[in-house]
């Protein structure tokens, strides 16, 4: 269990940076999610920490120890692979025992520790099975047991849930969190799924094009995205470009002016507001009200998404509970509506 510090990590492939100057401090026992679209450098960063990809520049410290140039087998890190990478020719028990054999642990201790590790993931009864005889979720658990049995300083997980179906993913997510907290092990996991990152990480690090776009607690990122990209990636579908036009005013492209907290910003920005925060036909006294017309209605089970268009050509998506969730009757396409929102319901992000 150790803190992990990345100091200005750079990875270049023939002058093209895949990871471009990343500095990050991960506290002991913290669970950090590296989040981002494919190609953002998150997996490259994780693999550099694991020692599978040489670092072009910068240093990696684990518990104060410089591991930048150590081979993976000298780093004492547990690595969970996207495809689990269980050795197909070894039984579950042998897979888990492998790391202990490498550490020259005595036979009796190996048996005991393998048992504990498999108990932790509730699979002790499958010790003699071959990996191919297990389900995806069971394989993931074995992989986790195998990575943890060596008592690593850090646990690294590469898209641990991407090969599981939705229900199992949820279960595994909680399981990873439970074990991580039980052992208090510093954990870094890579994902492209914001929901995954938000629901189990202590800190979410959003990456883009090899750099850190924004980092913070899950609610921080979700509620206060600091950039256009962050807002978009965190699921803010309404990003309205425009320009700051006063101490509390923002002029949208197309001409409408809205009231928003400007907080000292100036110049071109986008107003980011979630579809849930747009009210349809709410109180007439709301600070910002735009008249519009329903263009498309998308039924999504518990909610209905309405794409509305203002006379100035502005397109917005508003979300309302569907009748199934106790919401009002659906609106027909073409119906004129009033869309309103409070100034603090959204944020300005730089373009």
């Amino acid at each position: 269990m150790s803190e992990v510090v990345l100091q200005s990590i750079v990875k270049r492939y023939e002058a093209v940076p895949a990871v471009d100057n990343i500095s990050l401090s991960i506290g002991e026992g913290e669970l950090v999610a590296l989040l981002g679209p494919s190609g953002c450098g998150k997996t490259t960063t994780l693999r550099m920490i694991g020692g599978f990809i040489p670092v072009t520049e910068g240093r990696i410290l684990v518990g104060g120890r410089d591991v930048t140039h150590l081979p993976p087998n000298k780093r004492n890190m547990g690595f969970g692979f996207q495809n689990y990478a269980l050795f197909p020719h070894m039984s579950v028990g042998e897979n888990v025992a492998f790391g202990l054999q490498m550490r020259k642990v005595s036979r009796a201790d190996i048996a005991r520790r393998v048992k504990i590790a498999l108990d932790r993931v509730k699979l002790a009864h499958l010790s003699d099975r071959l990996p191919k005889q297990l389900s995806g979720g069971q394989q993931q658990r074995v992989a986790l047991a195998r990575a943890l049995v060596i008592e690593p300083d850090v646990l690294l997980l590469d898209e641990p849930l991407s090969n599981l179906d939705a229900q199992l993913r949820n279960e595994m997510k909680l399981e990873i969190r439970r074990i991580q907290q039980q052992l208090g092990i510093t954990t870094i996991f890579v994902t492209h799924d914001q929901d995954e990152a938000l629901s189990i990480a202590d800190t979410v690090v959003l990456m883009r094009a090899g750099r850190i776009e924004q980092q913070g607690a899950p609610d921080d990122l979700f509620e206060r995205p600091a950039s256009h990209f962050a807002a978009e990636f965190m699921g803010v579908t309404n990003l309205l470009p425009g320009e700051v036009a006063g101490s509390d005013r923002f002029r949208l492209k197309g001409g409408d002016t809205i009231l928003v907290p400007v907080a000292g910003r100036a110049g071109p920005h986008a107003f980011a507001i979630r579809p849930e925060r747009l009210e349809i036909d709410g109180e007439a006294s709301a600070a910002n009200t735009l008249s519009a017309e329903v263009e498309i209605a998308t039924y999504r089970g518990l909610v209905i998404d309405y794409r509305v268009k203002t006379p100035s050509g502005l397109c917005l998506t508003a979300r309302r509970p569907s009748p199934a969730a106790g919401g009002p009757a659906p609106l027909p396409v073409g119906r004129p509506v009033r869309v309103s929102f409070a100034p603090e319901a959204g944020t300005l992000v730089p373009m």
């Binding site: 694991g50 020692g51 599978f52 081979p71 993976p72 087998n73 780093r75 004492n76 890190m77 547990g78 690595f79 692979f81 996207q82 495809n83 990478a85 269980l86 050795f87 197909p88 020719h89 492998f98 790391g99 490498m102 550490r103 195998r146 990575a147 060596i150």
Partner: protein
Amino acid sequence: MGLVSINRIYAAISAVVMAFVLLPLVAVVWVSFFSNRILSFPATGYTFDWYVRAWAQDSFRNGFITSVETALVAVVISLVLGVPASLALVRYRFPGRDAIQTLLLSPMVVPGIVGGAALFMAFIELEIILDMDISGSLPGLFIAHGLIALPWTIRLVTAALVGMSPSYEEAAQSLGAGRITTFFRVTLPIIKPGIVAAALFSFVISFIDLEKSIFLVGPGRTTLQIALVSYLEWNLDSTVAAVATVQILIIGVLLVASDRYAKLSRAF
């Protein structure tokens, strides 16, 4: 045209092709049992005599032993060189990688006669420099057959490695295994089917070679194929058919066996 009739046409074409491939083999096996003293049709009777006579012939018996020995050594050479080479070619990126791969596969595309002649001349040059026998010696033959088998080993082992995710090796390393331990405990067992297939196939490729060997055998140390050709120069009876039948059997068994380990089609 309906699907059924298209399938019928495919079936008919397949049957013709199969017949074209198999008929000579069937004919050889059949002829090997003819009791005619000189190879001719129709059979006057049937006998096992030719098999007995074949084994009684020194040239065939010794040729068979030499061929088996040579093939076994060729297997060892091709594996010892081919497995590490495949590993390097698949797992690492380095300058000249493509060139090396082409070079290692080239014995497959150079006509056997050309390769044999080239080796023969190279051996002669070496003999002059080193003042020792190579061209007519067993080691010379071994080296040549190792070369014949090498590209096939590289093909099969490379295919096995490409099909194996590097994450197995990375997992072993992250668990504390060094490169060598990783190779023996993880890589080798996982690509074992490819290696077994490569070994069996190398054996066959070496065993059936005629063109390269013809330049490189010394007096009294010929391979079975060369013994067969020499015999045919002066004799025309069913002994050759008997020897061929035994070979068909051995090679058939080996090919079926290696195909069970790794689909040979992946090597082509």
